[in-house]
Amino acid sequence: MRSTVKGYVRKAFALLTDLAENVDFINSNSTGFNYATGLPAVSAPTTYTIKAVVISKSMLDPNKSITKILVATELLEAANIYDLSIFDKVTVKGVAMSVVHSKDGQYKITNNGYTTTLYAILEKS
């Protein structure tokens, strides 16, 4: 049954063609907190490019928009990604946004085993 559902998800993503786009998932690779500088210690970021679908984009306030992104969990697992919470940023159509790490409420990262949903915020600087 599980493989059947996965097959349907795979087929659905294939039918989306150009509605699905390459999204870069970026992990800034923090290696600890540097108490000498008061900033996170980081090494070179790691980027994974995965086909994803932008489900919605809405304005939270005049300076902030939130984008809902849907990914086939199978594609993430194929890239050895089992937890999207490790990512700090995503890039959609060349625009970098911050991944929302919320433990409760409507903006939580969810994975039902077949699809994974996450939210990313873009703020005007």
């Binding site: 992990n27 923090s30 290696t31 108490y35 008061g38 996170p40 490790i86 700090d88 790490h101």
Partner: protein
């Protein structure tokens, strides 16, 4: 009258100086400030938060250092208590002064340690809290 300057950053610098010290690093207890998101996988770690308020005298501060201690759940509270004792060893009655000309941070000898139970967002971890009060004395210039 001159404006208050750098007292909160100064307080954090004093606290950071402990966690940046060689003896603390040798204890091998990963300790992070609240607001920092770690990618590291640690079986035990601590997250600290500082609550401070005006002392009402000479731009000084007083407050509480809150530390959440996370250890594997299911093994009982012993390890968490040992980590709390290590925090006591370095904090209770201790003084930090990264810029002794301007200010010093002194921790009181009394501290509090409470086992809170499984962490709400990760029941594989046992959360306990350690708290200790401090005073940040800003010197007259």
């Amino acid at each position: 009258m001159t404006r208050v300057q750098d007292r909160f950053a100064g307080l954090y610098a004093d606290i950071y100086s402990l966690f940046n010290s060689a003896p603390w690093i040798a204890e091998n207890i990963k300790t992070y400030p609240k607001g920092y998101v770690s990618n590291e996988v640690n079986t035990e770690y601590a997250i600290f938060d500082v609550s401070s308020a005006d002392e009402g005298f000479s731009d000084s501060l007083r407050g509480i250092l809150f530390i959440d201690i996370y250890v594997p759940n299911g093994l009982g509270p012993t390890r968490a208590a040992k980590i709390a004792d290590i925090f006591d060893k370095y904090l209770a009655g201790a003084t930090f002064a990264t810029n002794a000309q301007k200010a010093i941070t002194q921790f009181r000898r009394e501290s509090t340690f409470i086992i809170r139970g499984p962490a709400i967002d990760n029941s594989s971890k046992l959360r306990s809290t350690y708290q200790i009060q401090f005073n940040y004395f800003k010197k007259e210039t």
